[in-house]
């Protein structure tokens, strides 16, 4: 083929590719950058869009950590207006990176104080989830054994070989559970707990999915009836059951000191040209409409104390009264060391 | 006793009969050629003998032994492939030595045999050459050497000249025949080229549509083809229908010919084959002698071919004929009339189509 024709074709292709990416927006768009687990109902999104005559665009960029890192890396040229999905384990990193601008939303008054981890309101709490042990009710009933009630139960001989947990180095609930043990047993005691747990034949997987769908007897052909999951997992089992259920097949251990509270935040990214709209969006996320939508969309609890929980949540789980909470700064400072120590103790 | 014998061998592919009940016998030291157009089944027949295909029915015996249970690598037959199938990752020496290594020949004997075989095919000193450096003719010789080196009892050659150009082909035809006779190996060659077949073989079998149309030494084949098909394949196209008269002569649209050796019954339909060399120029008004016939025709084309002229002419009644005439006397050019004297000894008869 004539080289000139070849060259022409390539140039045309490149131009086409370049043009491809220039999407001309029809109405005003506001973009929310978030992680894979984010969800919202059509109604709720439509409500915002109609009220403000905008199009709500979502940008999903991997899991919570990956999404945040991408937001940080694109600091000088942000990809979105608002970022949703920073949790308390990443809070310090997000704030140090200085990518959010403060906004004291009037709706913060409806949010309990213990959820407001950023006094400067660069990151505002939207929801929280409790990472707890879940157990397979049927398994324990069939064998007429008492299910676990506290973290200490896990190291008892009766529970040998029954638990599956996630690697804190690779899993968010895994890290949360580790933090729960650090908070509950203290810096001096948590490794001892893990040592005993290891001796008690605990199984470790790399992620929540392989633990839940691969090892947990309540959801798979696995043989472990105790798994680290969320307090909202039992209601999810009911909601997503094949046939309507009266009772949840699993239950969460929500006794004091046995859960870790993961709080999720939203923040307005610095450099957004649509500041007013972004603020309205943050307000919307803290309002009852959006807040009451959260449980059945993302299976976490709404931060707004006025939001009403759906039936399935009220019947099949409860919000832990005294979950473990660690200051974000402390988490940021010691996280790597704790994970390292955990790895040494449990995996080697 | 025949060395190789095939009895009613058949082979079907995809429910199409490829070889139909073929029987033949080959004596030791003979060179048989399977001649036929593409797709007639001759290569399949060769592969059946080699053991690379299995016949659906029939028996193939070699030296009295049924070959059916014997796999190809135990038959001790040599085979030369159309595209030579030389091993590109080995040099000439290693190619030729391949069969000998498998025979576990001791090293000194092996080296001697390779050298001898290379000499025989005219490739002395080529032992270290790489296959990719060889010309077409050289590759053919290596392929031949490779198949001869293990001293096979039967050599099978699949279109050995097929991949060569015309000039090379003619030179190698003679060489091949010489080498095969020198070595004395019984051979079966497959080709579609009649000249090759005639040059190399002792016996030629014309294969058509999976069957043997005629099997005979080249001279017999040429002089007495048994069917129009065989004749046409040999390049003999002067076929005229006729009927045997009471006096033994054959009446044809070209005239009455008294063909020697006519054994057909009176009234039988026959086809007369007039070989190209049958004609010579006759003066206008000449007389036909006892073994001759005269025909008038108009020249369609006259091709000078060096040693002779090829003359295409059509008679009054529309019969097209082709003759070769000696170069010494040029025949008339296209469009002109010509009178030809036909020698009946250059004619032969074959059975005609059955009566309607």
């Amino acid at each position: 083929m004539k080289p000139r024709v070849l060259a022409l074709l390539w140039t045309a292709a490149l131009l086409l590719a370049g043009g491809f990416s220039q999407v001309v927006a029809q109405t005003t768009q506001i973009t929310v950058m978030t992680h894979d687990s984010f969800s919202a109902s059509r109604e709720t999104v439509a409500a915002f869009e109609q009220a403000h005559q905008v199009t709500l665009q979502f940008l999903k960029a991997g899991d919570a950590g990956a999404a945040l890192n991408q937001a940080i890396l694109s600091k000088s040229n942000p990809m979105a207006d608002v970022f949703f999905g920073v949790d308390n384990t990443y809070l310090s990193r997000a704030l140090t990176a200085d990518i959010f601008q403060p906004y004291a939303s009037p709706l913060l008054a409806a949010v309990p104080d213990h959820l407001k981890l950023d006094p400067q309101n660069r990151l505002l709490p939207v929801d929280f989830g409790d990472v707890c042990l879940n157990y397979d009710k049927k398994w324990f009933e069939t064998r007429q054994l008492t299910p676990p009630a506290t973290l200490e139960d896990l190291v008892k001989p009766a529970f040998k070989g029954l638990a599956v947990v996630q690697n804190p180095a690779t899993s968010s609930p895994g890290l949360a559970f580790l933090l729960a043990t650090v908070g509950h047993f203290g810096e001096d005691g948590y490794l001892g707990f893990w040592q005993r747990l290891r001796d008690n034949d605990v199984l470790v997987t790399d992620g929540w999915k392989d633990a839940y769908w691969g090892q947990f007897s309540g959801a798979s052909k696995g043989s472990r009836p105790i798994v680290v999951s969320y307090a909202s997992s039992p209601p999810a089992e009911v909601y997503f059951a094949e046939k309507p259920l009266d009772e949840a097949p699993t239950a969460a251990v929500t006794t004091p000191g046995s859960c870790f509270r993961q709080i999720e935040f939203v923040g307005i990214l610095k450099g957004t040209p649509r500041l007013a709209l972004a603020r309205q969006l943050v307000d919307f996320m803290l309002e009852r409409t959006f807040q009451e939508d959260i449980p059945l969309q993302m299976f976490v609890f709404p931060a707004n104390r006025e939001a009403v929980l759906p039936d399935v949540f009220r019947r099949h789980t409860r919000i832990a009264e005294q979950p473990v909470a660690l200051p974000p700064a402390e988490i940021a400072a010691h996280r790597e060391r704790w994970i390292q120590a955990w790895t040494e103790t449990v995996l080697r | 006793m025949a060395l190789l014998s095939l009895e009613r061998v058949s082979k079907t592919f995809n429910r199409q009969p490829f070889i139909r009940e073929v029987s033949l016998a080959l004596a030791e030291g003979d060179i048989l050629c399977l001649l036929g157009p593409s797709g007639c089944g001759k290569t399949t027949l060769l592969r059946l003998i080699a053991g690379l295909e299995r016949p659906d029915s029939g028996v193939i015996t070699f030296d009295g032994r049924d070959l059916a249970p014997v796999p190809p690598h135990r038959r001790q037959f040599g085979m030369m492939f159309q595209e030579y199938a030389l091993f590109p990752h080995k040099d000439v020496f290693e190619n030729v030595a391949f069969g000998l290594e498998l025979q576990r020949l001791p090293r000194p004997d092996l080296q001697r045999r390779v050298a001898e075989t290379l000499d025989r095919v005219g490739l002395e000193g080529f032992a270290a050459r790489r296959i990719s450096d060889l010309s077409g003719g050289e590759r053919q010789r290596v392929a031949l050497a490779r198949s001869l080196a293990p001293q096979p009892r039967l050599l099978l050659l699949d279109e050995p000249m097929g991949a060569l150009d015309r000039a090379l082909r003619e030179r190698l035809m003679a060489d091949l025949q010489l080498i095969l006779k020198q070595v004395g190996v019984t051979s079966i060659m497959v080709t579609h080229d009649q000249a090759e077949a005639f040059a190399v073989a002792d016996t030629v079998a014309v294969i058509d549509d999976g069957q043997i149309a005629q099997i005979a030494p080249p001279e017999t084949l040429y002089r007495q083809p048994v069917s129009p098909l065989v004749a046409r394949f040999l390049g003999l196209n002067n076929l005229v229908a006729g009927r045997v008269a009471a006096d033994g002569a054959v009446a044809t649209p070209l005239g009455r010919f008294q063909i020697p050796g006519t054994r057909a019954a009176h009234g039988a339909q026959v086809i007369v084959l007039i070989r190209p060399e049958a004609a010579s120029l006759a003066a206008a008004g000449g007389f036909a002698g006892p073994l001759e016939a005269l025909i008038d025709a108009r020249v369609q084309a006259r091709l000078f071919q060096g040693q002779h002229y090829l003359l295409r002419a059509t008679t009054e009644n529309g019969i097209a004929l082709v003759f070769t005439l000696p170069a010494s006397t040029p025949p008339p050019g296209p469009g002109k009339r010509v009178r030809l004297r036909l020698n009946v000894s250059a004619m032969s008869l074959m059975p005609g189509p059955p009566e309607a």
Partner: protein, 556 residues
Amino acid sequence: MASPLRRQLLLVLPPLLFLGLFYFYPLLRIFIVSFLPSDLWAPLEPKRLLTSGYYLGRLWFTFWQAAVSTLLTLAIALPGACLFARYDFRGRAALQTLATIPFVLPTVVVASAFQALLGPHGLLNTVPMAIWGLSTPPIRLHQSVGMILAAHVFYNYAVVLRIVGGFWSQLAPEMNEAARMLGASGWQAFRRVSLPLLRPAILAAALLVFIFCFSSFGVILILGGPRLATIEVEIYRQAVHLFNLPLAAALSLVQIFFTFGLMWAYTALQRRSSLALMPAAAAIGRQAVQTGGERLFLCIGLLPAVLFLTAPLAALLIQSFTTDSGLGLAFYRAIFENRSQSVFFVPPFQAMGYSVGFALTALLLAVVLGLPAALFLAGPPSRLAALLDPIFMLPLSTSAVTLGFGFIIALDRPPLNLRNSLLLVPVAHCLVAFPFVLRSLLPALRSIPDSLREAASLLGASPWRVWRCVDLPIIGRALLVGVVFAFTISMGEFGATALVARPQTPTMPLAIFRFLGQPGALNYGQAMAMSSLLMLVTAAGFVLLEKIRPETSGGF
């Protein structure tokens, strides 16, 4: 008339440009960001990295699990490739499709299928336990290297099958026959004649499998468990969870250098062993199975592989139909319903459409770039070609997360404002698919003797004509192999897609992953149903692709 050199350069320019823009430039940017001092992370201590036994240990593990996986895959798949190439038997095409499907399945799904088979409560344990009354499961592969190796073989069987099998069926069978006529038994003919001739294809397939296993992520993470980690997993951990970019970047560099070195050695080997072969003539091809002995051989050779490959897929399929009330279509119906009215609901047909659309675009890109690259590399040897051969393979071994971050930084301003572009997904897919196309084409291209091209040239054919009438028919099959791989890779790609895709254009793997994000039997069932659909769509894709054969003069 352009000089040959200019033509060669024009050939290689587009793939180089593509690689430069979408691979080297983002990588460079992310490396710069990572290695410059910042308050976001601790600076890198190179000495600590080099002397730390931990990272060396990771590197060693990465290497040997990839090597053993490769050898195992070759050992299991080569006999299959032989049978596929040489014999024609009923169900041959179906089997080939089946063998390639694993390639497309997300690891999570495959892990689940393996669990259903090999786990402590899986079929292969519960059945023998029931029959022989055992108390503990006989197969204890859980979270072990054995599982990883098994999964790698499962995934990569098709690579060897198609690349070696495809090349093998192009080998003129006469050489094998000539060897047999000279007294070699089947095995001897194979060992002394066929095997050396197959070496380029075997090496190509082995290389691809090795690199694939070397940078394997999902398999190691899920099936290996937390104790077994490769460099790739470490990179992910450091980059995403710990945001320790300097370390992640350093490990990425280690990965790249290592692969480059390996590729360099391989390409040197490859160039020396390439032989010009006469490609197979039209009518010769596979032979029908004739004797009872051959039939038995076929069964023994193929049956274990077939079982191993299809069992997990069958387990998946069965799980998608197993509802509380027996076998039924409940899950398939459910995937069409937007139960929670989520704005991110993925209608299955839409997901299929996007998956196939991205796959076809990626495929086209991979071919349009891979073909000239292959032509360039198969042309006259030069220093540039020797350097570019390994370079073209690098994207395959680079961590998706490193590249993903690179895209974020590098592609953010016009004229390269492609961060949010739809095009980025097929581009990311193409980066992985392009080396596959290249490696599939090269052995075939290098095997065409120059004499063929010269003959065509002398007969008056222009270079374009030569290429169209000589090269294309011969490499037709190899091209098809590359095309099928590109399609499959794109259909099943998850890691990079998760980082660059927009929620409006979800692919099937993303949809599957979404289902598995929440508990609930319905979610699990839907994930299985979607996975089964993914398998179906991919298989249909193969069948259609294989029908599009480039115009051939002699057939293949």
